[in-house]
């Protein structure tokens, strides 16, 4: 229990540090909010007036404290560019990205678990080599290229699925899924290929362990031993990779959202950058950072569930 407390405390400290770093980075970029809002022809006096209005003329730490305090209440501020509240916009978009990433991860797992087990069981045979080769190809293909190929195959040639766009889940679940299938596949196939190799190598190293021989010696069949004794042990290194991949997927989602015209966080982030909407960019980046940190925390806690040796420490 004390471990959970300790890890959560570490998470909170990390969030504070990360949010400050994000804030500081964007604050030192040339061109402050008032200059952006007023355009290139603004007089220095007008810029100064607007800066006072925005509060961007105050010391950096004060501005940070103000912004951070808002964040604690879920208030991300109001955009200097669009004059909309940022919080609700991020919340809407975040849900879309979570669906995208979760689906992509699920595709990756559904692909990698059976493929990894088969590749391990068939290693040193032709079939195993074929699976390894396929996963190698999968790793080499970037997600956006996979996305474009999928669009070409399923949307353009077959015409079965939409090439882009998004329908909220609450509006029409079936249409929602139809729009997300291709993005899920393009995210999941690549990550699944990477994961397949990790599952395979983790299983192969577990297979060499003495306890696998013990299991076989008590009469467990080859495949059953692999699944019942191999997988739970192989899960420990695989979860490490899974945590890292989830973070990767968040980043990969930005590109895939672009390809499939999905209104997610990535799309919002890119728009913020284009419009030089610093406050919006800050907000999105902080949300992404916190998401990555939370994923890490969950991975870390998952270790203890999977590995009793860590629990007693």
């Amino acid at each position: 229990m004390s471990h959970v407390v300790r890890r959560t405390a570490t998470l909170l400290v990390s969030v504070v540090v990360a949010s400050f770093v994000v804030f500081a980075f964007l604050a030192v970029l040339p061109g402050n909010a008032a200059e952006v809002a007023l355009g290139t022809n603004a007089t220095p006096a007008a810029v100064a007036r607007l800066s006072r209005e925005f509060g961007t003329d105050r010391p950096l730490l004060v501005q940070y404290a103000d912004w951070a305090q808002g964040l604690l209440h879920g208030d991300f501020g109001t955009s200097y560019v669009t004059h909309e509240a940022i919080g609700p916009r991020i919340a809407n978009r975040f849900a879309v990205t979570v669906w995208l990433v979760a689906g992509g991860m699920l595709v990756a797992l559904l692909l990698a678990l059976p493929a990894g087990v088969l590749a391990a069981a068939w290693h040193r045979t032709g079939r195993g080599a074929l699976l390894s080769g396929l996963s190698q190809v999968g790793i080499a293909v970037p997600a956006f290229l996979a996305g474009i190929l999928l669009v070409y195959a399923f949307a353009v040639r077959v015409g079965a699925l939409p090439a882009g766009g998004y329908t909220p889940l609450a509006e029409d679940p079936q249409d929602w899924a139809r729009h997300l299938v291709l993005p899920w596949l393009s995210l999941g196939l690549v990550q699944g290929a990477v994961l397949t190799r990790y599952v395979r190598s983790a299983l192969l190293s577990v297979q060499r362990q003495d306890f696998m021989r013990t299991a076989r010696a008590k009469g467990v069949r080859r495949w059953a031993a692999l699944c019942r004794h191999g997988l739970p042990n192989a899960a420990i290194p695989v979860v490490t990779v899974l945590g890292l991949q989830l973070s990767n997927l968040l980043v990969g989602a930005i590109v895939v959202e672009r390809v499939f015209v999905i209104p997610g966080l990535g799309d919002l982030l890119l728009r913020g950058v284009q419009d030089r909407d610093l406050l919006l960019v800050q907000g999105v980046v902080v949300v992404l950072v916190v998401a990555v940190l939370v994923v890490n925390l969950v991975t870390d806690l998952l270790y203890r569930v999977l590995d009793p040796r860590l629990r007693s420490r």
């Binding site: 306890f211 021989r213 010696a217 008590k218 009469g219 467990v220 739970p232």
Partner: protein, 600 residues
């Protein structure tokens, strides 16, 4: 099945890897309730034989021949995984060498035992199986069996884990129990408990045992009958008392001589090393190391004997001198150099005052105090020139902690070590006067350096002509050919690697040599050689030697003074003779009593 039918019948068994034949056509039987020992050094094919019987060989290995089990219609060697799985764990149970890794680390011990019961349907429900597992652990004298069944493997000690493994093997009351070096990784007292348990339980239930070990004394105390394997063949077989008291094969004789570490005698190493399977001589596999070999041995000898279960495979077994012959047995009248008396007034090289090591445990709560573990209680000891001190104790006794402190590889929590009369630590000037030989010769040699470079490393001018000469000198001294210097560690055998480690340690002519389990990773036939090397090095050069070993025989053979450690505390010390003849501390008595003795 007829009453006379053997339980297990192995005929002409072979095991091939892609490039070599590892088991070269062996045959033997195990009767119901009989305990058969398989003796052999590493590479003899004894473990492969056991694994082949159950179809558990690694993917790259192919078996040939036939293995029949009483009551089973088919040949186990050609059987499918499904057919074999019905036999494994039901008719035949198996115990492996490494209890630390033989259990699944993420599954509770109890459920690992019940898995086999449920799989073979010997217990109707999960609840009955759970209860049976607890009863089984109780029968195997595991303290608090109910709690042990709920534990994960890492929560148990080595001996407790091995009882768990034994529980898995015995869970369905098998007819045959195969034990592959079941106690090699355990402390002597635990070893005795486990072997007593195996013998007692199998005796009571009429379970037959195939007991694989390199330890002749252990096999003699467990088995009715033994098979001696060398180079993938059975060279001799027969009743344990006959084979161990009147061995017929030159290899069996050589092995017995090499094992005999009786003090005052000189154990006889077998010349050469166990060859790799592809380098074995064509005829008799032992012919290139055998003193009696001639042209006839180029043809493989068949096992011959009056009875099928009392055989020897040697062309010359009739012509060998009576055992024990003067030329083969350890020479007992060898005069010992009188070091004991001399050591008292010789130069004091190393002394400790209240040397202590404590470790801080992990904090239990957020504000809790860190618990302290005492790895080594305050200890005072003196090491004088020419003295050979042995440190014995079981795992966790603090032996290695003591050695690390003496070598300056760890800092004491309290007290200190004075080196050569100074208190400035072994670094600087004292460094080359103190050298260490570690347990694992593979892990302690840099794999990327040539042997020559490894030995030259502690020398002041490594590349000088003088250094080259010194290396050649040392190679000769440790009994290696000159060209071994150009090789890399992985190209050498375990015994050769340990000799290189010793040569490296001797290179700067140290005054003190510390050795941590110097022979425990080595085969019996080369063990004697390494021990003799250490012994001559110390007597010839008035060097002080401090040896750590869990093997009491090694300490008795090599040392004149012994320290007995238990739980970080020095419980007894004295001369080797006095401690062996009249141990005072009950723990010392227990340790000495647990050492397996040759029964015949």
């Amino acid at each position: 099945m007829s009453p006379g039918e053997p339980l297990l019948e192995v005929t002409n068994l072979t095991v091939d890897s892609g490039s070599a034949r590892l088991v070269r056509g062996i045959g033997f039987t195990v009767a119901r309730g009989e305990r058969v020992g398989v003796i052999g050094e590493s590479g003899s094919g004894k473990s492969l034989t056991a694994l082949a019987c159950l179809g558990l060989l690694d993917d790259g290995l192919r078996p040939g021949g036939s293995v029949r089990l009483a009551g089973v219609e088919f040949d186990l060697l050609g059987a499918s995984d499904r057919q074999l799985s019905a036999i494994r764990g039901k008719r035949v149970g198996m115990v492996f060498q490494e209890p630390m890794t033989a259990l699944n680390p993420v599954q509770r011990v109890g459920s690992q035992i019940t898995e086999g019961m449920r799989l073979h349907g010997t217990r109707p429900t999960r609840r009955v199986a759970d209860e049976a597992a607890v009863e089984l652990l109780d029968r195997l004298r595991l303290p608090a069996p109910r709690q042990a069944a709920r534990s994960f493997p890492h929560q148990l000690s080595g001996g407790q884990r091995q009882r768990g493994v034994l529980g898995i093997a015995l869970s369905n009351d098998p007819d045959l129990l195969i034990c592959d070096e079941p106690t090699t990784a355990l402390d002597v007292t635990v070893q005795k408990e486990i072997t007593d348990l195996i013998v007692g339980d199998c005796e009571e239930r009429g379970t037959a045992v195939l007991f694989i070990s390199h330890d002749l004394a252990l096999v003699s105390s467990v088995c009715h009958r033994v098979l001696v394997m060398y180079g993938g063949r059975i060279v001799e077989s027969g009743p344990a008392d006959r084979v161990l008291s009147a061995p017929k094969h030159p290899y069996t004789r050589a092995l017995l001589a090499a094992c005999d570490l009786t003090p005052g005698s000189r154990a006889r190493a077998i010349p050469g090393v166990v060859p790799a399977p592809k380098d074995l001589p064509a005829g008799c596999g032992f012919s290139n190391r055998c003193a009696y070999a001639d042209e006839q041995c180029a043809a493989p000898p068949e096992p011959t004997g009056e009875k099928p279960d009392d055989t020897v495979a040697c062309w010359h077994h009739d012509a060998l001198p009576a055992w024990p012959s003067a030329a083969e047995s350890p020479d007992r009248d060898r005069t010992e150099p009188a070091h004991c008396g001399k050591a008292v007034d010789s130069e004091l090289l190393l002394s400790t005052q209240g040397l202590t090591r404590r470790y801080q445990g992990r904090r239990t709560g957020l504000f809790g105090k860190r618990p302290t573990f005492r790895a080594l209680e305050p200890i005072d000891l003196d090491l004088r020139a020419g003295q050979r001190v042995g440190v014995v104790g079981e795992s966790g006794a603090g032996k290695s902690t003591l050695l690390r402190l003496l070598a300056g590889l760890d800092r004491p929590s309290d007290g200190g070590v004075r080196y050569f009369g100074r208190a400035d630590g072994p670094s600087g000037g004292a460094g080359s006067r103190l050298q260490v030989v570690f347990q694992d010769p593979m892990g302690s040699l840099d794999p990327r350096l040539r042997v020559r470079e490894i030995i030259a490393e502690p020398l002041p001018a490594r590349r000088s002509a003088a250094a080259r000469e010194r290396v050649s000198e040392l190679l000769t001294a440790v009994g290696l050919p000159e060209e071994a210097g150009e090789r890399y560690p992985h190209q050498l055998s375990g015994g050769q690697r340990q000799r290189i480690a010793i040569a490296r340690a001797l290179a700067p002519e140290p005054a003190v040599l510390l050795a941590d389990e110097p022979v425990s990773a080595l085969d019996v036939s080369v063990r004697a050689e390494v021990l003799d090397l250490l012994r001559t090095a110390t007597t010839e050069r008035e060097m002080a030697l401090c040896v750590i070993s869990h093997d009491l025989g090694v300490i008795r053979y090599l040392c004149d003074t012994v320290l007995v450690l238990r739980d970080g505390r020095l419980v007894e010390s004295g001369t080797v003779e006095s401690v062996w003849e009249a141990p005072r501390h009950p723990y010392t008595k227990q340790l000495l009593g647990a050492v397996p003795r040759m029964r015949y």
